[in-house]
């Protein structure tokens, strides 16, 4: 019964910013749907058809022409609105479906509300899928805006963002026949409309109701695929009561708040697809476009691309770079006689390099998506535990490879949960310790060279050495902690079995332990550092490479083989004195350099390369790894730095310990990329690392 109305077309028109092609397309679609609505006034439909005709001429929207074209669209829409309105007032018995949006679409009492989410048999699946992606974006924006409103209730722009989200979801879902979604969104829209019109203050239960409306909509949107698959998912328990509260916050708001399930939102949150996890992704049209932080997603010209296509593109560009590199090295091309050819190839080379940079940039997305979700987690956890916490975020526009955003979600959640649950003290304890009652959790994201740093700082009590030790001993992870340094004790929280899946599930909804989180990070060449001062708080730092596709590597020679060592992992290289090497009983060779001792790792032995230097003074030592997990790797020669496109080793070779993959070098031969951490680990556990990995090339 609820259908797209002329108001939806107006809203879409309002959302059109100059140059925003996507928004214009949305406007065009809405107008077109209204044109085909036979219940609408005939003259209104004609006017709308005129608007569609204008919108269908892309040439008219180029550059300065756009303003005039939009003005023409506006005139047609005005006529249509006039016709609909006078038609409605003139007709004694108005068609219920032609009523403007203000008419209650689902004013039905809660009892009459649908109990399941159903989809019309003739639904256009492609359109629905488009809608889902769009709705998720709107909800993310709305959630961010609502959190923003908590600290600044007067922010009209933020209120508009929220309104626009509810409004658009209502319009499109109604058009697609998703009645349950449309009905609920309508209530939410109504309330926000009243806030927007200063009729209702954004205070008391209102902010909470709005946030919960976002939650319910997320659950509804997440349930649509199941409905599409032929199922009939049940509506959330809150659906009816919250709908009623939204339509009349003054009367029903308090009652709804009282019956609110305490942790429902938290438990549901993970099941809601967030930006990083959706099958589709938004890619900024231009690098700078993503910086317009506050505007609704419609404000930037965006194109949706399937991520698998995007990944394939990046992969193909990688192949192209390699193929081109091989071509460049070809004797025919390098032959000075072929001057013309060489020039053309060089030109192609330049284009290929640019293409490579560009394609890698395509996969870069801001961290914002992953962070927005955390604001919510902090808010809910703080409320539940009776703590006062200010969550400060900076650098959320920092861009990283899409796959890494996904990867960050779990560790960030763990870190935030840890900070709120264990870090920040209850207000009374804080006051006693001479701190402000309100604790601060600060999340900072920044780019440092080709790495991304995400730091989570809390000003709570700091990690409690004794408590961690007690738990670790209890869990049988260690026997005694007497001789452990603080850093080593803090590291224990990553140990397998330290954080129980049970405790983790409470927030994340997944039974993923800290050890798994850590392993995933390391697999992506990431690392974690924990710093903590008793009474002053803790800082967790996650460090990740910007992208996984390209590795800055040091090319080294061992015998006749060449290997690539990620430059980020190399601390320094030096030629050792013969007296620097000491053989420690039962442990193997150690190098004494600059006041410290490092295990000596003869790469050729580990990788069984023949013909390499045996005498330490004839080779070069490379110090790799971090902290006490460092080793000095002996190689024959450093061949120089170069960027390589990392590729997994083929199926035939499989996973080889100590190697992360291969890369095709300039001359077309394969160079293997060393997994520094795995080598160090193998060395630590084996003593001499005599048989770690086999050279696969």
């Amino acid at each position: 019964m609820s259908q797209l109305t002329i108001d939806d077309a107006i809203a879409a028109f309002v959302a059109c910013e100059p140059g925003d092609e996507a928004a214009r397309r949305r406007l065009r679609e809405r107008c077109w749907v209204l044109v085909s609505n036979k219940q609408l006034d005939a003259q209104a439909r004609t006017a709308l058809a005129d608007a569609v005709a204008v919108l269908d001429e892309p040439a008219r929207f180029k550059g300065e022409l756009e303003a005039a074209a939009m003005e023409e669209v506006r005139r047609h829409l005005e006529i249509a609105v006039d016709r609909v309105e006078c038609g409605a007032s003139a007709m004694s018995e108005p068609e219920p479906t032609a009523a403007p949006a203000a008419a209650p679409v689902a004013a039905a009492a809660p009892a009459e509300a649908p109990a399941t989410l159903t989809i019309p048999a003739d639904a256009d699946r492609a359109l629905i899928e488009d809608f889902l992606a769009e709705a998720r974006e709107y909800l993310e924006t709305a959630e961010a805006a609502l959190l923003q409103l908590e600290s600044n209730p007067g922010d009209a722009e933020a209120i508009n963002d929220v309104f626009r989200a509810f409004h658009t979801i209502k319009g499109t879902s109604s058009f697609l026949g998703l009645e349950a979604v449309a009905g609920f969104a309508h209530h939410a829209e109504d309330m926000l409309d009243r806030v927007r019109g200063a009729e209702l203050a954004f205070a008391g239960v209102v902010p909470d109701l709005a946030l919960r409306a976002v939650d319910v909509l997320k659950v509804l949107i997440a349930a649509v695929p199941a409905a599409l698959a032929g199922g009939a998912p049940a509506l959330p328990a809150e659906y009816a009561a919250l709908g009623l509260a939204l339509s009349n916050p003054e009367q029903h708001g308090a009652a709804a708040a009282a019956v609110r399930p305490e942790v429902a939102a938290i438990e549901e949150a993970p099941s809601v697809p967030i930006i990083g996890r959706t099958a589709e992704h938004v890619v900024p049209g231009a690098p700078s476009a993503g910086a317009a932080a506050h505007a609704a997603p419609t404000a930037d010209p965006l194109v949706k691309v399937r991520t698998d296509k995007l990944d394939r593109l990046v992969e193909m560009v990688g192949e192209l770079v390699i193929a081109e590199a091989i071509l460049m090295q070809d004797a025919v091309v390098r032959d000075a006689a072929n001057h013309g050819l060489a020039q053309k190839v060089r030109h192609a080379d330049k284009i290929v390099r640019e293409l490579q940079d560009l394609s890698l940039g395509l996969r870069m997305v801001p961290l914002k998506g992953a962070i927005t979700k955390l604001q919510r987690v902090v808010r809910d956890l703080a409320a539940r535990s009776g703590k006062q916490i200010a969550f400060e975020v900076s650098g959320e526009e920092t861009e990283v490879d899409r796959t890494l955003v996904d990867l960050l979600a779990d560790p960030l959640l763990h870190m935030v949960r840890n900070a709120v649950d264990h870090g920040i003290e209850p207000p009374s304890e804080r006051l006693k310790a001479g701190k402000p009652a309100m604790g601060t959790v600060r999340l900072e994201a920044m780019q440092a060279g080709d790495r991304v740093l995400v730091k989570l700082h809390d000003d709570g009590r700091g990690l409690q050495r004794e408590k961690i030790l007690r738990k670790a001993i209890e869990k049988g992870i260690i026997q005694s902690g007497d001789t452990m340094s603080d850093a080593e004790v803090f590291e224990l929280i990553w140990a397998p079995g330290f954080s129980t899946a049970e405790a983790v599930t409470e927030v994340s909804g997944r039974g993923v332990g800290m050890d798994v989180v850590r392993r995933n990070l390391t697999a992506m060449r990431g690392r974690t550092v924990i710093a903590s001062t008793p009474g002053q708080g803790s800082t967790f730092t996650i460090e990740l490479p910007l992208t996984l596709a390209i590795t800055d590597g040091m090319l080294v020679r061992v015998g006749a083989e060449r290997f690539i060592v990620p430059t980020a992992r190399i601390q320094r290289c030096f030629r050792p004195e013969p007296s620097a090497v000491h053989t420690v009983q039962g442990r193997g060779e150690m190098v004494h350099t600059g006041g410290e001792v490092l295990p000596l790792f003869r790469l050729h032995r580990a990788l069984r390369v023949v013909g390499a230097q045996e005498a330490i003074t004839d080779g070069i030592l490379m110090v790799v790894g971090d902290g006490d997990r460092r080793v000095a790797i002996l190689v024959d020669e450093l061949l120089g730095q170069q960027q390589v496109v990392a590729k997994p080793l083929g199926e035939a070779v499989g996973r080889v310990r100590g190697l992360t993959g291969g890369a095709i070098l300039g001359d077309g031969r394969v160079g293997l990329i060393l997994d520094v951490d795995e080598l160090v680990e193998a060395h630590r556990s084996r003593g001499t690392g005599a048989e770690t990995a086999e050279a696969a090339a």
Binding site: H582, T583, V584, Q585, G586
Partner: protein, 125 residues
């Protein structure tokens, strides 16, 4: 498992023997300098050596070298317990073939930790 404890200070020997007893190694032979210790080692049956460094007649370092030079002494674990804390000293001990190094004063848990570490490496190899 029989231990050989070498130290010129009777007090230190008592403390080491006592500590060993507490961490579960009651079978101990004592010597008060390197030469005596070498003779005791030659008698056989020693499976772990704990030695001081500074001793009259033969130092612990020379003693360690002498043990390593013997066919039956190449693999026996040697733990050096000493006050000598200079890095060159520690490296010299490494080169002489000791398996681990504990600085005095020590506590029984530390002693046990080092013994365990030496034994576990030996077991894995």
């Amino acid at each position: 498992m029989r231990f050989l404890v070498v130290d010129d200070s009777a007090t230190m020997r008592r403390i080491i023997v006592n500590s060993l007893d507490r961490v579960g190694y009651p079978d101990v032979v004592e010597a008060d300098d390197g030469q005596t210790a070498l003779a005791k080692f030659a008698e056989g049956g020693i499976s772990f050596i704990i030695t001081d460094w500074n001793m009259p007649n033969m130092s612990g370092l020379d003693f360690a070298r002498a043990v390593r030079a013997r066919a039956d002494g190449a693999a026996v674990p040697i733990l050096m317990v000493t006050t000598r804390s200079a890095r060159e000293d520690i490296l010299a001990a490494v080169d002489a073939g000791v398996n681990n190094y504990v600085l005095k004063p020590f506590t029984p848990p530390v002693l046990k930790e080092k013994i365990d570490a030496v034994l576990s490496v030996g077991a894995a190899a």
